[in-house]
């Protein structure tokens, strides 16, 4: 891939940047979940690797979180945009060269960012932990080039209409840049106090709400109709989904601070909007599941459909939790507990990961014109991910309820730690399963690139039988 950095745009094969982004995403997923499993082992077995500052939990947690959000999830999104955006416009990517440079600068910037976090240089603000110069780098050299490529590809499309997926891609890349610049203002201008707290959670909420959630959903709008061959059930529900994300997801940041001395009217406003997050969720889930009509056999038979529908189904508990856990009465109980950690993983490792894994599976096979090397390994990956994640989610939810009870009834902290210990071990087992599954995935995709059966032009990967 590096040889294309200095090649002419016309000499770069179509899809190269998507392949670069795709394999980078999988490698970051392996690293990110490996770090997560390591961190979980420190919580399950507190004497595991002690005395070294750079592998202490406080350093490693941030590296894990940012490796999966900006390495795995965001690079998988970029991969999907690099091949889906032009496909939906019946055109080529506006600039493969910009895409290659984008992927290269993304890897460089992320490596630098994670290194400084590892060294202990951090803003100390959750989810926006990167120091200010990394934030500017991300906005200028990672998000902006991605946005330019997506917007220009859509502008230069050969269709009159714009498909639902591309509405989300174009809007989300724009909103990501805004979120990064505005959300990090406390670092650029040393804002403190409530302003810093509010903007910290405005950033964290909107990275989820205006980047990860809509782009993951947009991918499903492509994957399901593309693989099943069914038309998208309803263009109208697509409108309801898109505009409800814009209106209801962009506004509830204050519901992360229900116990902070923010104005109460702002909390009331944000809390109502927080429940209304269910509106885009209802629209999304109903549209995808209704599109599956007549093709439910593919939920069993086809790997990409199985990943996508599973991710889509996870949107139901995700949004039920998200909508109600932020209300004053429930937040009082679960705030600051493992429940929130479980919920965050349901969003990122459950809902979002399953949708974009489908896009990476489908995209890499389609672009490389090679059928998946091993369906068995693909199935093992799916089940390792699903069982591992579910183990993690259930155990952390229970641990969170124990912590909530301990908090409310003022149980001595050490007693709470002892009570939740079995669930910390279950968390480690679940996280480790996800890590092992991802290692198998990397191997499978590497072998697909080398030895996968060639797919004839005009055919979809799932239309071909496995030859081995």
């Amino acid at each position: 891939m590096l040889k294309y950095l200095l090649a002419k745009n016309e000499d770069i094969p179509a899809g190269s940047s998507a392949i670069y982004f795709g394999f980078s995403a999988i490698i970051w997923f392996v690293l990110g979940t490996g770090l997560g499993a390591f961190n979980a082992s420190k919580l399950a077995f507190p004497d595991f690797v002690t005395g070294l500052e750079f592998v202490s939990f406080g350093h490693m947690r941030q590296v894990h979180v940012h490796a999966v959000i900006f390495g795995w999830i965001s690079m998988a999104f970029a991969m999907a945009m690099m091949y889906i955006t032009p496909a939906l416009g019946n055109t080529k990517l506006w600039s493969e060269k910009l895409g290659i440079w984008n992927a290269f600068l993304w890897n460089v910037g992320l490596s630098l960012g994670l290194t400084v976090l590892w060294m202990g240089m951090t803003s100390g603000r959750e989810y926006s932990d990167f120091p200010w110069f990394i934030d500017l780098y991300i906005a200028g050299f990672m998000a902006l080039p991605l946005g330019i490529n997506v917007w220009m590809t859509i502008i230069n499309r050969r269709t009159q209409g714009i498909y639902t997926t591309n509405w989300f891609f174009a809007a989300a890349t724009f909103m990501l840049i805004i979120v990064f610049i505005v959300g990090n203002l406390p670092e650029f201008f040393h804002l403190t106090g409530l302003t810093e707290a509010y903007l910290t959670w405005w950033f964290a909420h909107n990275v989820l709400g205006l980047w990860i959630t809509p782009v993951a959903a947009a991918i499903a709008y492509y994957t399901i109709p593309k693989v099943t061959g069914n038309p998208l059930y309803s263009h109208r529900i697509g409108h309801l989904h898109f505009w409800s994300v814009v209106v209801f997801y962009s506004t509830p940041a204050a519901h992360h601070l229900m116990s902070a001395p923010l104005p109460e009217w702002l909390k009331s406003f944000a809390s109502v909007e927080g429940v209304l997050i269910l509106v885009p969720a209802i629209a999304f889930v109903s549209n995808i599941l209704l599109t599956m009509q007549g093709k439910w056999n593919m939920f069993v038979e086809n790997l990409e459909v199985r990943f996508t529908v599973t991710g889509c189904l996870m949107a139901i508990p995700l949004n039920m939790q998200g909508g109600f856990q932020q209300t004053r009465a429930i937040n009082w109980y679960i705030h600051g507990t493992g429940w929130i950690v479980a919920h965050a993983h349901l969003a990122l490792l459950g809902f979002s990961t399953f949708l974009e894994a489908a896009a990476v599976y489908l995209g890499l096979q389609t672009i490389m014109k090679r059928k998946l090397y091993s369906l068995t390994l693909g199935n093992v990956h799916f089940w390792m991910l699903l069982i591992g994640f579910t183990t993690y989610w259930v155990s952390m939810t229970i641990a969170g309820l124990i912590q909530g009870a301990g908090k409310i009834y003022e149980v001595p902290y050490i007693d709470v730690v002892i009570a939740e210990h079995p669930y910390m071990i279950a968390r480690w087992i679940g996280g480790s399963m996800v890590f092992v599954g991802n290692c198998l995935w990397l191997y499978n995709m590497w072998m697909t690139a080398r030895l996968g059966t060639l797919i004839p032009a005009g055919r979809m990967p799932h239309e071909l039988a496995y030859e081995r």
Binding site: N90, G161, P231, L232, F269, G274, L276, S286, T327
Partner: protein, 209 residues
Amino acid sequence: MAWTWNRAFTTLSDDATVEKSETLWESETLGGLTEDNNPIPVPVVWLVALTVMTAFLVTFPLWGQRPTAALYAPYVDLMDKPEVVAAVNDVEAMKVLLEISKSRFTGHDIEEATRHPLSMDDLRIIRPQIQALEAKGVDLKDFTVVGPNVVIANFEGNYRPDGTRIRQQPWWDKGYTIDIFYLAYFFFAVFVIVKRLPPNTWVPRHGGH
């Protein structure tokens, strides 16, 4: 792209625009993908309506608020009563205190007090703070109890004639009002966008099928 308002609940586009949209819809494949023109299903409409109602009901400003200093004032006044002092331990003392305080509670205070229980030790910590406020003659409902501290509540209501500000959570606040504004323009905008499409009774034929 002309508008028509004669059949607003069917379509807001005139016949020529509808025909043009239908032709484009059927002739264009977006990377091999097509879309149907199905209406938003009735259960989905009901679910959205239920969500909106639920959103306002479960986030009602009075749910989940911190206890006010006024809620604990009856306890503070009565905690030196002989029957409380004579209790065998603090747990029993608190039970007695709750029982004899009931007559002092008004409205829903008894439910509030049950939702925000506290121990005799808690009471001993906040007692001097509440007594100091009572001595000043301020409205105790303007103060909330946050852990061991009695602090001025985080609300900014209207001014009283004496220039002090009412610090009490209203049953309806301006956050709610803004939400209604948001919802109104959201539903109006989505209605207009969706109704600019061809009528939902029209079924597009994809690839001639």
